[in-house]
């Protein structure tokens, strides 16, 4: 018995639509088995993970809050991946955006600074993220260094820089020696949308980013160039598209969005700069980008779904003592299935039962 892949004449549109659903279905089956092996009631666990968070208003807001950075980062990453540029350092760009934006918040702390503070923070966060992303992009374009490795290495560097700042120069003097800055002033805080709620302005920005991504990819020449460079590099060269310029552009956009997500997270839900501001948003966003088929609307849905698993994971930990690592396993398994199902778009699977020797004889 042998599994054989046969190339389809053209991409299957039906499979392209249903493959994420198949992947989610297979993931849930796998998780059911995992819960059973761990000795937890699988039905109850699945309920706590996927249904319970949808049932109350607080959790729904929390899902939107968690989805905000995921969607923003993933939109940028999808541009990179479409152009065949592998930015996997979004986590570092997220942290650099958070650090740079926080600088303004820390320096204006307790002063009479007006309402320019928050816009300036967001702008600086985006710029810092873009510049940080341009380091691996320039290394790639100028020197041919693998952007996969350089962008990832810079994640560790950003993490250590943030750690240094909040333990050293920016530490809150009244913070009982905890590694954190003081709480940001109201003018340096992202406003919430509902009085006393968690939902904040960043979620609106994320929706705008989704719309902008859809317009860029679907309605502009640049978006077309990005897709052609990734899908058919030779055709792009004949078309006179500058692949290097597109690598720089997609990295810069992706970095800017990650940086913006970073400063929004710090100035919004967290409220101050501290280590561990991200539960791996930059890496989870990679899954979001693929689960969303590198399509802006798909990414929005995928971002909400993965945010649901974050919240569900937290609730499962409290209610059923299921470790948080299960969420990471879940996300990894999901990405596996998404990629495997994507293979169905390009290939038809066929199982051949005859022995290979016999097959060779008939040729």
């Amino acid at each position: 018995m042998q599994l054989v892949l046969e190339k389809r004449a053209e991409r299957s549109r039906t499979v392209a639509l249903i493959s994420p659903l198949i992947a989610i279905g297979l993931t849930i089956v796998t998780m059911t088995i995992l819960f059973a092996v761990m000795g937890k009631n699988p039905i109850l666990a699945l309920y706590v993970y996927f249904i319970a968070p949808l049932a109350d208003g607080y959790s729904l807001q929390e899902i939107a809050v968690k989805a905000t950075p995921l969607v923003m980062i993933a939109i940028g990453l999808s541009l990179c991946y479409l152009a065949n540029a592998w930015n996997i350092g979004a986590e570092g760009q997220f942290l650099m955006g958070a650090v740079a934006g926080s600088w303004i918040a820390v320096k204006t702390q307790g002063t009479e600074a007006g309402h320019w503070v928050l816009p300036a923070m967001l702008l600086l966060g985006a710029i810092a993220g873009a510049l940080y992303a341009l380091i691996p992009a320039i290394c790639k374009v100028r020197f041919g260094a693998s952007e996969i490795l350089t962008s990832l290495m810079l994640v560790y560097v950003a993490d250590l820089l943030l750690d240094y700042l909040v333990r050293g120069p920016w530490r809150d003097p009244q913070g009982f020696n905890f590694p954190t800055t003081a709480e940001f002033d109201p003018v340096a805080t992202v406003p919430t949308l509902i009085e006393g709620g968690r939902l904040h302005l960043g979620s609106i920005l994320a929706l705008i980013v989704v719309a902008a991504g859809a317009v860029l990819l679907g309605r502009t020449i640049k978006g077309f160039e990005i897709r052609v460079v990734g899908a058919a590099p030779r055709a792009a060269r004949f078309g006179g598209f500058n692949a290097n310029q597109l690598i720089l552009l997609t990295f810069a956009i992706s970095g800017a969005l990650s940086g913006l997500a970073g400063i929004i997270e710090v100035a919004g839900p967290v409220g101050h700069l501290q280590p561990g501001i991200s539960p791996g948003y930059g890496f989870t966003a990679i899954i979001v980008a693929f689960l969303g088929r590198l399509n802006p609307v798909g990414i929005l849905i995928a971002g909400l779904f993965l945010a649901l698993t974050f919240i569900g994971g937290e609730q499962a930990q409290i209610a059923m003592k299921i470790p948080l690592d299960v969420t990471k396993v879940f996300q990894g398994v999901l990405l596996f299935y998404v990629l495997a199902c994507d293979s169905l778009i390009l290939y038809r699977f066929r199982i051949i039962f005859s022995a290979p020797q016999v097959a060779r004889g008939t040729h």
């Binding site: 290394c139 693998s146 050293g168 990679i286 990471k328 596996f336 990629l339």
Partner: protein, 305 residues
């Protein structure tokens, strides 16, 4: 003198996991497969390796557990990237994400536990020779194993027919297939070897480097191992040099921190990562004439029939 001896000993210990993981990845990449899941395979190897040693009290069982775990992880990768022809970069990334979560689950039961670390070689009189005695004849078994392994890999790649065939698969899978070689099966063996090495490299950390397991203890070493294969231009000899250079950077920054140089520790800790970036840039730049990478590296191969 004792300080120098201590530094060299710790450099060797810090380099060994890098060398082991990079050796496996070198073979994998020479067959034309780019497995970015080294970090994931290592961390699962670390958790399973520690678990095995803690349950049985045997370092060797622990090391074997790590290797088996790494191999199983790599089979997952092989099934996806070779069997289903999925993009290797994306598959490798998901292997790392999955591995980090899985290792946390596996390791949750024995965080905080301790084991007796792997014993060091001791030959009476010879190990006691000043300076070189302990460095040459007083290491733990993994150090010798890693060096023997890379020598064996060199011999395999350049002195055996099987090695030649494997390199052919890595440089031109279409021609290798046309000659009748089972490209996908050869690549699967190479991926499995990479997984076993990564698992062993991960297991080295809790078995010999620090005698306990902490989640995320690989701390990017799998990614540095990937960079090392680029650094080494996919050649075993340079890989040894590269691994020891990186080990030296890691250890020297620790000693500099210990010596109380007025530089914040975080800056020193970021040195290995920055060094990786700089080395990648310098090497890629020096190599503009033509790439030394296996020509088919990272490309999907679906045999037509």
């Amino acid at each position: 003198m004792e300080l120098i001896e201590a530094i060299i000993l710790s450099v060797l210990a810090a380099s060994t996991p890098l060398l082991l993981a990079a050796t496996g990845e070198l073979v994998t990449e020479r067959s034309g497969v780019l497995n970015l899941g080294v970090e994931g395979m290592m961390i699962v190897g670390a958790a399973c390796g520690f678990g095995g040693a803690w349950l049985t009290g045997s370092i060797i069982v622990g090391a074997l557990c790590g290797m088996v775990a790494g191999t199983l992880m790599s089979l997952l990768f092989a099934g996806m990237a070779l069997g289903l022809a999925v993009n290797q970069v994306a598959t490798g990334l998901s292997l790392t994400i999955f591995g980090i979560g899985l290792s946390g689950l596996i390791g949750a039961g024995f965080v905080g536990e301790r084991i007796t670390p792997a014993p060091h070689l001791y030959i009476p009189f010879i190990t006691n020779i000043p300076l070189i005695g302990r460095i040459l004849f007083g290491e733990d078994g993994f150090v010798y194993l890693s060096l023997a392994l890379i020598a064996a890999v060199w011999w395999f790649l350049y002195r055996t027919r099987a090695g030649l065939i494997m390199r052919a698969c890595g440089d031109n899978h279409v021609s290798a297939h046309a000659l009748g070689y089972p490209v996908l099966r050869i690549r699967m063996y190479a991926v499995m070897f990479g997984g076993a090495c990564a698992g062993l490299a991960g297991a080295y950390l809790p078995l010999a480097y620090t005698p306990f397991f902490i989640p995320g203890m690989t701390a990017g070493r799998g990614w540095i191992a990937l960079a090392l294969t680029v650094f080494a231009s996919w050649r075993p000899g340079r890989l040894v040099i590269g691994a020891y250079l990186f080990g030296a950077v890691t250890i020297l920054q620790l000693h500099a921190q210990g010596a109380g140089i007025g530089i914040p520790s975080q800056f020193m800790s970021s040195l290995p990562y920055l060094a990786t970036v700089i080395v990648l840039v310098l090497l890629s730049r020096a190599r503009t004439g033509g790439s030394t990478a296996p020509a088919a590296l990272g490309t999907v191969f679906v045999p037509d029939r």
